[in-house]
């Protein structure tokens, strides 16, 4: 049991080594309506709220900027 827990914690720690570049994060943004063809436009706001994210990612471009 303890060994399994150790392995699980170690796996999580190692998984944390994977870096997600900003360009990849941007690709996983949902676009706002009406350009979103998959009914997920409501998720767009959480990913692309506007200026703060523009500053954070540095190179915000279409289609997330509005």
């Amino acid at each position: 049991m303890r060994r399994a827990a150790t392995v699980a914690v170690l796996s999580l720690a190692l998984a944390g080594c994977i870096k997600v570049p900003d360009r990849v994060k941007l690709s996983f943004c949902a676009q706002p309506a009406p350009s979103n063809h998959f009914g997920s436009a409501s998720a767009a706001r959480s990913c692309c709220p506007g200026p703060p994210r523009v500053a954070r990612f540095g190179h915000y471009s279409e289609p997330c900027s509005r």
């Binding site: 998984a15 997600v20 676009q31 063809h37 998959f38």
Partner: protein, 311 residues
């Protein structure tokens, strides 16, 4: 799948073959087994070494990878049947799993190689599986020998889908390589998508090739069996049609994030997409026979408009 489940499935398969002779219809609580009406009527399972297995697993990756080729293919994974000496069919495929390492990119933590799985267990891991005869005149003994040779060499999984480098292999590259040993010419490669967001994500996953070999592009002959989690083939056809509709909607201006969301280093389907894929097979839960292609397409597209919105 449990041993009991396996026995039931294999027993069911034989039953289904007999049903093809007697006209009975057999259904299973977990998987359905369908006969190719043109299959032999000997009552023996139709599996032979060298047959090609095409399959769809549940989860987001089947959707992600189906969007990768420049044109639509129904399946995203392929494998080969090799009979063991006792006559039981085994599926050999090239697969990988995520094993966390110190790597900073996903490809560095993907580890895998040739996997050998009893057919029934393999079916249990998938939503839908079809088994096809390979091209005519293939030398099945040579195919088997090549599979065993690659297995003995511990050829590793190629997360980059690089068909020009055979030191590592991805799923369809492995199948093509083994079939080539049996005399089958490799099919032409298919260009990968130009969609900017998907290219970005594929590159992050380690795929930098400009073309590749989709599983369903493999040359093959008649289908000998199909298995699914649904009670009839119409449901499976509706699921594959739903994938086609997602592909149709994924125009170059679309972000992959419209379908999938990033969760730490993994991806998952966004809720509307998951709902659409869940509901599409349910359109045909009580269907008798297979629907006409046009009707199937119309109903799945109508569902897409309802769940995903108009395009």
């Amino acid at each position: 799948m449990t041993d009991l489940g396996r026995r039931r499935l294999l027993a069911g398969l034989s039953g289904a073959l007999l049903a093809g002779c007697s006209g009975r219809v057999l259904e299973y609580s977990i998987h359905s087994v369908y006969d190719d009406p043109s299959a032999g009527s000997s009552g023996r399972p139709p599996f032979r070494t060298g047959q090609i297995v095409l399959s769809e697993a549940p989860g987001p990756y089947g959707i992600l990878f189906s969007l990768a080729p420049e044109r639509f293919f129904r399946f995203t994974h392929s494998a080969l049947v090799v009979m063991d000496p006792s006559g039981e069919p085994f599926v050999y495929d090239m697969s990988a799993e995520f094993k966390p390492t110190l790597a900073t990119e996903p490809a560095g933590s993907l580890a895998g190689g040739i996997r050998r799985t009893p057919l029934a267990d393999y079916v249990g891991m998938h939503l839908y599986v079809e088994v096809f005869e390979p091209p005519l005149n293939v030398d099945r003994a040579r195919v088997e020998a090549r599979v065993k040779e690659l297995e003995a060499r511990h050829v590793e999984f190629d997360a980059g889908w690089d068909f020009s480098d055979h030191s590592r292999m991805f799923c369809s590259e492995f199948v093509v390589d083994a079939l080539a040993a049996g005399g089958v010419s490799p099919p032409p490669l298919v260009p990968l998508t130009h969609n900017p967001s998907l290219r970005t994500v594929l590159t992050w996953f380690g795929v930098t090739a400009v073309d590749s070999l989709p599983a369903a592009a493999l040359p093959r002959e008649r289908r000998v069996a199909a298995f699914s989690v649904w009670p009839n083939r119409a449901c499976a056809a509706a699921y594959l049609e739903a994938k086609r509709e997602l592909y149709r909607r994924f125009t170059p201006d679309q972000n992959i994030g419209n379908l999938l969301e990033l969760e730490r280093y993994d991806v998952r389907l966004r809720p509307p997409v998951a709902e659409f894929l869940q509901r599409a097979p349910e359109l045909y839960l009580t269907a008798k026979g297979e629907p006409a292609e046009a009707e199937l397409r119309d109903r799945v597209r109508a569902l897409a408009v309802e769940v995903l919105g108009p395009v």
